[in-house]
Symmetry: C2
Subunit: 118 residues, 2 copies
Amino acid sequence: MSNIACGNTEQHAANVSQVRSGMLSERDFLFLSELFKALGDYTRVRMLYALAIHELCVCALAEVLDMSPSAISHQLRLLRAARLVRYRKEGKNVYYTLDDDHVRNLIGQGLDHVREQG
Amino acid sequence: MSNIACGNTEQHAANVSQVRSGMLSERDFLFLSELFKALGDYTRVRMLYALAIHELCVCALAEVLDMSPSAISHQLRLLRAARLVRYRKEGKNVYYTLDDDHVRNLIGQGLDHVREQG
DNA sequence: ACCTCACATGCTCAGATACTCAATTGTCAT
DNA sequence: ATGACAATTGAGTATCTGAGCATGTGAGGT
C-alpha cells in the first residue's frame, strides 16, 4: 500500500523492486515458517533428534526425554500436522519415526550453524 | 528419574538406552531450538529470504514486507540475537545482511521439504 | 541551535503456546 | 464383560510472543 521510502531514492528503490520480484508466494513462506516453528522448540527438536536415531513408541519417547506421555503426545500431534513424523500402530503401542531425511538434514545444518558460533 | 516403562521390556529398554546415549547436550538442543525458533515466524523468514537476495536497510525491508519500521526493527533485534544477520551503519541508515550461508542453506532445505509435500 | 529522518527501545496487551490434570478411546489379557 | 495399559484429547493455567504506540537516540541538513 503506502510506501514511505527512506532517503536513497535511486539505489533504495532498485533494491526494493529487485527483492520484491525475488520473493516467494505467501503460501510458500507460510509453510516454511510452519516447518521451522515445528523445529523451534526445545522439546520437539529433542523428540525429532531422538526419532532420527531410532523409531520409538510414545512411552519410550517420554522416558528418553523424562516427560509425561501426555506432553509428548501433544507435541507429536504438532509434528504430525507438520508432516515431520510418521507412525504405525502395533497393539497398544504407536511407533513414531521421522517422515523423511529432510528433517535429518535440517537438524544437521542447524548444528553446523550452532557449532560455528563458539 | 522415574522411568515408567511400557510393555516391551526387552526391545523397549534397548531402544531407550541407545537413543539416550546418542542424544546431544542440553546446551546444543537449546541453541538448536533457538535457531529454528528464529526462523519459525512468517515475518522473520520473509525478512531472511529478502536479505538473502540483497542487503537492505530497515526502511527498505519494511517497504518490501509492507510493515512498519518499528515492527521490522523488533524482529531484527531477535535475528541479531540469534546471530542470523549482520549490520553496518551508514549515515542515518542501517544495512542488514545474512550473517552466513548456513541460513541460506537452511531455507533452501526447508523449501525442498515443503515442496515435496504436494 | 534547531529540525528531520532512520532506527531502536519500553511498555502494553491480545493472541498463541506448552504443560498438567482429568477423562476418553482403543487394544490386549483374563 | 472386566481390568489394565498405551495413547489421545479437552480444559485449565502459566508463560511467551508479535506488533502497536509512544518515546528515545543519533546522524545530517539548515
